[in-house]
Symmetry: none
Subunit: 206 residues, 4 copies
């Protein structure tokens, strides 16, 4: 097989990196970007401060890679939906469902996800990442563009439309996460999907 020959070292290396990124995720989720110190991340991961620097050049790299790793996971789940051939409306529904389900499973990631949008996160003004956020919007925009070409969606700026959908649905997820007893996921999936597709206007004439 073409599988690269992974030595035991590589496995351990990857395991540590993974562990550290997960710890970072949890700490940022708990305390927020700025209050997540190397010490606390180290404690959370059960290693010493110095160890982190064996796997990441500095705090910035750790945070950035954690961002990327986490968003990549979300993206791969969403991409799985995007790539599946499906009528447009169903695709929207599935996307919303996937996103809600993802954050249902990864509550702690959400806070990280939020701080991704405004680039102020990593304290030094260093142009960290929200390119991933952009990419994600563009991917959705492409799907929307195709739906417009197919005559299923009225023609508007697909990029703006994508952002509207993403943020609108994010708002609902944020709300769910803050609720003690959120409604069933299916319910919110239906709500968001219907808002996106048909808006709020009551159509008695239907």
């Amino acid at each position: 097989m073409a599988t690269p020959p992974r030595s035991k070292e590589d496995v351990v290396q990857e395991f540590r990196v993974q562990t550290l990124m997960e710890a970072t995720l949890r700490v940022i989720a708990r305390k927020g970007m700025a209050a997540a110190t190397m010490q606390e991340i180290a404690d959370e991961a059960g290693v010493s401060k110095g160890t982190i620097y064996l796997y990441f050049r500095d705090r910035d790299e750790l945070v950035e890679r954690t961002f990327e790793g986490a968003i990549a996971q979300l993206m791969s789940e969403l991409d799985a939906v995007l790539d599946r051939p499906m009528p447009f409306e169903e695709k929207i529904r599935e996307l919303i469902a996937a996103k809600i389900a993802f954050f249902g499973k990864n509550r702690e990631f959400f806070r990280l996800y939020l701080s991704m949008r405004s680039p102020e996160g990593t304290q030094r003004p260093k142009q960290t990442c929200h390119p991933q956020y952009r990419v994600r919007a563009q991917r959705l925009a492409a799907v929307l563009q195709k739906a417009m070409d197919d005559g299923e969606v009225r023609p508007v700026d697909p990029n703006r439309l994508a952002l509207f959908i993403i943020e609108g649905s994010t708002a609902i997820i944020l709300e769910r996460l803050s609720e003690k007893h959120p409604p069933a996921e299916a319910e919110d999936v239906e709500l968001v999907t219907s808002l996106i597709l048909g808006g709020v206007r009551k159509r008695s004439d239907r």
Copy 2:
């Protein structure tokens, strides 16, 4: 008269508080939450660091009150629309227009506004949080509730609907602010309004 007897001291006091909050706004807008130091805020306000502590207990209070003050301004503009009697659809359009116009005039506030949603900003884990954001959502929710009662909007959770609208429109504003040459405000007002009211679905049968 019912006017509270405002001594000269009170006036000065209020003036200082105002000045400081405006300076804070500008610095956060420029540098981001985490990089906004007391020194820079003091410089921006033209006072010394120590003076800030005469009017605010600590950095957290300064930031929090600045948040509140800024959002209050936005709210009052939006409330002016909300309170004016108007058909529902027009009201939505006006709200979106007011919001887009506000951020067009107060570009610098936007960054602050963003960091308001997740309380991660203030570095110490002190739950600075965002009651104002909630209030704003609730006010919109009330309008939506009424529209449902009037049969103009199909019945859904008004709170969720409000959040969806707020964040969806925020996304468009954020996009506008990052663009070198954004389209005319009216264009985006129309886009957002139509999305909220009618969704994306093409209705050739209309």
Copy 3:
């Protein structure tokens, strides 16, 4: 008078800078360049760590300016001799005497002086200062050149000659400083001067 109008702030500022440089001098003299920490320097100066950064950008600047300040003092004493019109041989004697006397009074400076020559001092490879050391050598070289022109010294590379004299005499000073009971200064002045002028060779034919 043309004295610049020194405000009280300037005086305090200069006093602090002076105090800090003196403390730095003492600590480096005691512990050596590399072991002189900001904390210890602060303690020695009777201020807190943070205070140092009010007057010096970073450790490198503190050390560099301390170097310059200290060497400047030595230079000014030597220059006083160099500028005084005097027969060449006497001038050499006076220079050696001034140098020995200076280090007799400022024993602690010596260690700093030594670490100036090899630029490795300031740990980061930053090309710190030994320009002062060069300047000093050149000044002596100029005097030697003149003595050669006057026919009092045989013609050799004046730069090399200067270095030879400086380091040779430094060796004697270093020895003096390590001795519990060094001989009278005059004695070593005489020794060094005679070595420079006449070498070691016994001249019975004189």
Copy 4:
């Protein structure tokens, strides 16, 4: 035979020690005392960090023994000259020549040599110091003493004289090493020798 029975282990041991000291020498020469880390020394020697500790108690011991080893090499070359029966003046000339030649061949050692004099190198205040330097001075002093006894050198403190000669010549070597195109070695040998023997004074009456 009286040869100590050297087991294979002893040979390996000595080889390792030698290799490590050479690596240390190169790294210090390249980066300077303070910037020479155990990791870089290990890399240079082609072993792992841990290995160093099998042969040296700690960094200080490694550096100290490296000092000693390096100076010993220089000393043995100088001793070869010192032990050869030779008129005094020629011996001085040969010593200077040997020293200049040695540093010409071992440029990298020079930096180490310099930091030997002041024990500031080893960052922790541990008095690593420089007994070897003393020994070398004493050996020269003995030769000088003998020359005085023989009436070839005027009677002065032989120890001081030795230090003067050593440092004076070192200054010239340091200068040579910093020059892009230094003069021929013979030229500087002649300069230094003549300075030591006859001083700077022009003796037209000769």
